[in-house]
Structures are given as structure tokens and as C-alpha cells.
């Protein structure tokens, strides 16, 4: 992406950002709340149109795409939302199957959702097993714990059969042990399947442990972009060293 800015009308969320990510890379975006992490991920996945600048995925600039081409591109981006975006009052399997809607015509999706073919269900089960909740296939989604629901969201993104996984604050709502497990899981499935992995994280220690490339964001701009071994602790302290007026300024900004 080149010179990307995003403005929600309350001051810029991203300021002329340049970023290049290679296929198969694993990148963590870190930074305080309101730094623009969520906006960046949404722009990268093609679900938010930047106010200026261009985002290109596989060399195709998103703003030149027709709605159908944009759908195709989005279907290749598995997004795990901070608030998951699952349908709570249906079975887990249905949430997972919904991952593939982007690749189906409307009639085909009716069939796939209401009368799912056996091989789809088997595959959904296989993926759920991979993320550790295989026996939850036919549970109602809102009966699951927060951590399990998170894994449903991961399974849905994987069932989508994407080229990249984007995770927005995937561990903001679980305890540290589970957080570590989940990040390890994301990292491992991304490696197994050769997926690009982009995650926004609050937890610098986790990011350092699991990601070979860290991008520090602050107030919509890139503060640093390096591998963790080259980064002294001082850099992180600076990133999170908020001045009082900045903390007040964060109130009301979009989270992430």
C-alpha cells in the first residue's frame, strides 16, 4: 500500500502510510489504542476505502476493482474481527459454513447453508478439530465460552480458504495463557497453509515472541518496522509512552 490515509471526519486515523507485505509473511501491528491498527487491517482487507492513497493486493489496486472483483478479493482475506461477528443463535457449523459465502452465487449459497453437502460439513469439522473444538460442531454458538467462540471465528476464516489471515486484536478478551495458545495456533495454521498472517496486538511480549516482523503504529503513522531482535526495549517504551493529553485525546477514538 502506498500513501494511504484514512479519515473518519474526526482527524486522520491513518496518515500517509506506506507498507509492503510479501505473501506468506507474518506481521504484527502493535501500538496503543487509537493508533490506527483496526483501520489499517480494514483497509488491507478491502472492507474500508481509504480517503486517499492506494491499496493493491497481488498487484491489483483495490479502487479499480468492480464490486464483483472486490468480493473475490475479500473472499481471499480471512478476517478475524475483534468482536468476532458470529451469529450467536445458530449452530457452530453454520457460522463456519458462512465463511465461504464470498465464493458462492446466491442460489448456491442457499443450498450450501440450508442443505450443506456432506463434504462441506466434514471439512468444517476437520477445521474445528484443527483449532481444538471439533466436538462443538453442533453446539449453539452462544453456548460456547469466549475463547471457544474465538476459535469458531478462526475456523470460519480458515473455511473461507483464504490467502491471508487478518486478526484484529485476537486476544484482547481472553486470559494470558489462552492468548498465547491462540497466537501460537494462528501462527501454526498460517505456516501449515502458507498463509500471510497479519495481526494487531496490544501485547508486545506476544508479538516479539511469535512474529518475525513488527510494525509499531502511533497516531496513524508507522513508528518502526523491523524484526524484534533489532529492536531495543526503549523503542517499545516510547511507543506506549503516552502523554497526558494524548490519553485524553484517545477517548472517543475508534478502539484499536
Amino acid at each position: 500500500m502506498k500513501g494511504v490515509s484514512v479519515d473518519y471526519g474526526r482527524g486522520p486515523a491513518l496518515k500517509k502510510l506506506d507498507l509492503r507485505i510479501e505473501p506468506g509473511e507474518a506481521v504484527a501491528f502493535i501500538g496503543p489504542s487509537g493508533a490506527g491498527k483496526t483501520s489499517l487491517l480494514r483497509v488491507l482487507s478491502g472492507s474500508l476505502r481509504p480517503s486517499s492513497g492506494t491499496v493493491a493486493i497481488d498487484g491489483r489496486p483495490l479502487h479499480t476493482l468492480s464490486p464483483d472483483e472486490l468480493r473475490e478479493t475479500r473472499a481471499c482475506m480471512g478476517f478475524i474481527h475483534q468482536h468476532l461477528g458470529l451469529v450467536p443463535n445458530v449452530r457452530v457449523v453454520k457460522n463456519v459454513l458462512a465463511g465461504r459465502l464470498g465464493r458462492q452465487s446466491f442460489p448456491a449459497s442457499l443450498r450450501a447453508m440450508f442443505f450443506p453437502p456432506r463434504k462441506d460439513v466434514l471439512q468444517a469439522h476437520e477445521i474445528l478439530q484443527r483449532v481444538g473444538i471439533g466436538d462443538m460442531l453442533y453446539e449453539r454458538t452462544d453456548r460456547l465460552s469466549g475463547g471457544q467462540q474465538q476459535r469458531v471465528a478462526v475456523a470460519r476464516a480458515l473455511f473461507q480458504d483464504p490467502g491471508a489471515l487478518l486478526a484484529d486484536e485476537p486476544v484482547s478478551s481472553v486470559d494470558p495463557a489462552r492468548a498465547r495458545n491462540l497466537i501460537a495456533l494462528l501462527r501454526n495454521v498460517a505456516k501449515e497453509r502458507g498463509l500471510t498472517l497479519l495481526a494487531s496486538l496490544h501485547d508486545v511480549a506476544l508479538a516479539r515472541e511469535f512474529f518475525p516482523r513488527l510494525v509499531g503504529l502511533r497516531r496513524g503513522a508507522v513508528q518502526f518496522d523491523r524484526s524484534p531482535d533489532q529492536l531495543p526495549q526503549r523503542v517499545f517504551d516510547e511507543l506506549y509512552d503516552l502523554e497526558a493529553h494524548e490519553m485524553l485525546g484517545d477517548v472517543g477514538h475508534e478502539a484499536g
Partner: protein, 284 residues
């Protein structure tokens, strides 16, 4: 001091008293005269002893026993209500969808074509406004009034009774569904959009399910209302419970009236039980 809420309650009370004074509400009016007292006493005396056989001495030979007839009338009432609610859903659900805003919101990421902008800025608001208006007109006329109109225009056929109920009920279904859809959480729909789902896929699989259980509960409640309405339509000559209640009442057969009233009560209780068990299975 008196807060905001206090003011609201106070003004409601004042408005109520004023309205009562304007239309000369007098508590003494409710006390019946001697004749009325006699009727009321006879009527309520039978409340605990509904008739089990016909009270009339001249029963038509071959007529089915009273209890069988009451059950048949209840069944007929149920069928009318079922047909009316089904038709109302058939009208109300598409209309409710059209009168919601979820189907024409702009995609925050896609470039908008000229045709798309025309649709969103002009055509869609027109459809939205027209369907809201249509739904409002449908439900602003009560089913009894529709029935009277149809009776005058088309005569008493069972279809007119069903349509009379289905029109205002369809209008209410449209209103309630559109509000449920507009207020349903958007996160799941947005997540599906981000995964490439089309607008209608996202609505069907991401937004509609969020309004599902509320809509089902509301449909059951309206079914109960339809039972009452279809019973009352009997007073206009349709073969539902109201028809027999009116006939027995005219002949001063209060015991039979109570029999039919209890049949109605059973019917409503049964539907209530059915909707309860349905919702429990929904929640499970």
C-alpha cells in the same frame, strides 16, 4: 425536586383526568339498572356451570351434541386464524424487508457506480417510503372495519374474512420486522461482507438470524390476536366461535355462551403453550 420522570408521570395523569372529564366519565354509569342487573346476574350465574347439552327444547334432529359443536367451532376459528396469519406473513415479511434500511446501505469500501448511486439515493428511498406508507395504511384500519367493507362490497365468503384479518396483521408484521431488522446487531453481517459475501447473502445469513427469535415470538403473539379476531368475525356471520356465541346470547342461552367462551379460552391457552414450547426449543 420533581425530576424529568416526575414531570412525565404528572402530565400523563393530568391528561388522563382531563380526557375523562371531557367525555363525562361518571363512575355511577357503570351501575346497571334493575333489568340490566337481572341479566348480568343470570349471565354470570352460569359462569361456573356452562351448558353440556343444548338449552333449547327444540333441537333440530340430527344436530351434533353441543360439546362437539363447540369443538368444531373452535377448530374452525383456529383454521381461520391460521390462514389469516399465514397470509399476513406472506404479505408482511417482504413488505417489512422493503421498509427496512438494511438492503440499501452503501458499502464502505466499494466504488459506487452511477447506477448504484441512483438506486441508493433515489429509487431505494422511494421504495422504502412507499412500502412504509402501504404498511401504515394497512394497519390503520382495524380488521373488523375491513370485514365490514368486504361484507358490503363482496359478501360473506370465508376468503373475505381471512383477507380482512390478514391486511392489518400484514401491516403490523411489516412494521415490526423492519424495526427488528434495522435494530439487529450488524457485526455478523459486516463480518460476512468482509469475507466477500454479497449484500443479500450477508443479510440472509448474518442479519436475519439475529432477528429470528424475536420475530417468531411476535408471530405467535399475533396468532393469538388472530384467534380472537377470527372468533369476533363470527358476529358477522362467519362460522367461527363468535357466530355461535351471538346466536346463544340472543336466545338467552347463557350456559351455551359460557361453553363457547371456555372453548375460546382453551384455544388461546393451547396456542400459548405451543408458542412457549416452541420458543424453548428455539432457545435450546
Amino acid at each position: 425536586m420533581i425530576g424529568r420522570r416526575g414531570w412525565v408521570l404528572l402530565s400523563i395523569a393530568v391528561a388522563g383526568l382531563w380526557a375523562g372529564w371531557r367525555i363525562d366519565l361518571d363512575p355511577r354509569d357503570i351501575l346497571p339498572n334493575a333489568g340490566g342487573m337481572q341479566v348480568a346476574r343470570e349471565f354470570f350465574a352460569r359462569a361456573l356451570s356452562p351448558a353440556l347439552t343444548y338449552e333449547s327444547t327444540t333441537v333440530v334432529p340430527g344436530a351434533s351434541p353441543l360439546l362437539v359443536k363447540a369443538l368444531a367451532a373452535a377448530r374452525q376459528t383456529l383454521i381461520f386464524a391460521g390462514a389469516a396469519v399465514s397470509l399476513a406473513l406472506l404479505i408482511g415479511l417482504p413488505l417489512g424487508f422493503l421498509s427496512s434500511t438494511i438492503w440499501w446501505e452503501a458499502d464502505p469500501a466499494a466504488a459506487e457506480s452511477r447506477a448504484g448511486r441512483l438506486l441508493r439515493r433515489t429509487v431505494a428511498p422511494l421504495i422504502y417510503g412507499a412500502s412504509r406508507m402501504l404498511a401504515a395504511v394497512m394497519r390503520s384500519i382495524h380488521e373488523l372495519l375491513w370485514a365490514v367493507l368486504f361484507l358490503a362490497a363482496l359478501g360473506a365468503s370465508n376468503l373475505t374474512a381471512v383477507i380482512a384479518i390478514a391486511i392489518p396483521f400484514g401491516g403490523t408484521f411489516a412494521k415490526v420486522l423492519s424495526e427488528l431488522l434495522d435494530e439487529a446487531p450488524r457485526d455478523s453481517g459486516a463480518a460476512l461482507r468482509a469475507a466477500g459475501a454479497s449484500r443479500f447473502q450477508a443479510i440472509l445469513f448474518g442479519v436475519l438470524p439475529r432477528a429470528h427469535s424475536d420475530m417468531a415470538a411476535y408471530a405467535f403473539y399475533r396468532f393469538e390476536c388472530a384467534l380472537r379476531s377470527s372468533a369476533i368475525l363470527g358476529f358477522f356471520g362467519y362460522p367461527t366461535l363468535g357466530y355461535y356465541i351471538a346466536a346463544s346470547f340472543e336466545n338467552l342461552h347463557y350456559g351455551e355462551v359460557w361453553t363457547y367462551i371456555y372453548a375460546m379460552f382453551l384455544l388461546v391457552a393451547a396456542v400459548d403453550w405451543w408458542s412457549g414450547s416452541f420458543r424453548r426449543s428455539f432457545a435450546a
